[in-house]
Subunit: 251 residues, 2 copies
Amino acid sequence: MLRPKPVPVTVADIRKNCSQCHLLELCLPFGMTETEINRLEQLIESRRRVLRNKPLYRCGDPFEAIYAIRTGSFKTDVLLEDGRQQVTGFHMAGEILGLDGIGTERHTCNAIAMEDSEVCVIEYRQLETLAREVEGLQHQFHKVMSREIVRDHGVMMLLGSMRAEERLAAFLLNLSHRLSIRGFSSAEFHLRMTRNEIGSYLGLKLETVSRAFSRLQEEGLILVQQKHVKILDLASLQKLVHPLTRHQSGE
Amino acid sequence: MLRPKPVPVTVADIRKNCSQCHLLELCLPFGMTETEINRLEQLIESRRRVLRNKPLYRCGDPFEAIYAIRTGSFKTDVLLEDGRQQVTGFHMAGEILGLDGIGTERHTCNAIAMEDSEVCVIEYRQLETLAREVEGLQHQFHKVMSREIVRDHGVMMLLGSMRAEERLAAFLLNLSHRLSIRGFSSAEFHLRMTRNEIGSYLGLKLETVSRAFSRLQEEGLILVQQKHVKILDLASLQKLVHPLTRHQSGE
DNA sequence: CATATTCGTTGATGCGCATCAAGCACGCTT
DNA sequence: AAGCGTGCTTGATGCGCATCAACGAATATG
């Protein structure tokens, strides 16, 4: 409801923004030259803190900026009239939020912080202007959008053709991969989202998610304790997902 | 397997390309000024015919161009190792294909013509160059990508939370809408895809699709005869989809 | 025009997951 | 430390859809 106001940042802070950010290679500036990055830095006017469970933006909000996650993590979801939610994605540091708003000039989903987080605010009109001058920025921005499309196709395949246990395995492998890229352990991590949110994302009910966790544990592939997950047998998890030989119910 | 070679087009033809194309408002040039469109036209080097069931591009192909559908229609799919396919989208005149390739510089799915079709080939590097000069093109291109993302989110919601009959209703309404925009009847049309392809797209088996068709017909909402569909009760169809009050199995 | 092949419909059966329900393990508040 | 709310687990039951199977309709092939 109440939005935290953007936190003004000093010029010195801003200058440090991208080139010294350890997320450089995961974020928008990836692949840009140093001088290109310097120009992008100047465009990032402010950062914004978002407290846990608070929205960065909401469905229907006018679209004005995209956001690069500096710290923390977000979920994006759509609320249905009956109050139920459908989670469309989980997002972590370095990823870009808000791309959904460009087409309609309004945001089409809610972006909610899953923990106290901080984002870089990139005013969209300015980004377009700069992208016309800085080829590397333009190209990288297009890549970010394209990858989002491909990612969504992956989720569609998951929802369309995998069984509960396989969906969860795919989800865990995806998390594991993204965490390891960011320098965290790929084998052991803490889930920031509830079973309900995982279920919503995977097209399952929370009880089914819980059972799938237990099942993977019984099979010795993972170790779960509430939100703590430890991956014991990566290869088997991957085999479970990748062949995609099995579809839908058994067989 | 064998790809039809690009069909060279005379300069005169090209000149007529966009500004005289009746798809103008559905395609990339939408929202651009006349002079902007003229510059875009010059960039479209060739058209390409694709015969029914032939690929426009294949998964793994190096990414070089995006394609605007002039006539005909396409499906995009991913083939799994066991030979089964997962359809990620159906595409008709005016829509843009190939955006998935930007991120990895390779196509990540197959685009197969569902009937003899023709596309405008838009070489991607040239498009980027021109987008840096022509603001309207840049903006429109971003919008097209953003809408693709939003569209995919819609499919994710459909796959994650709707029952077979609702999925099919949503699918039919979506087709109907897109056809009416293109000047075709929104109430009566011919399906270009098989039950199997519809099922693959909707995360259902072909038998279930067939039953859902029959069910909607029994309820008096539509009239089906093989690939011919007539919508009898639009409002009820929409009610079936929109509330999204019911989820997954019954309740 | 006859035959083969693909595609569609419909019925019978079983499995996977949603649903309903109860109890347990947390973190929060006072 | 007690009390509460929220989130997680696990069991019992039923429904929706996949699966298997057979037949019919439409299109392609020679």
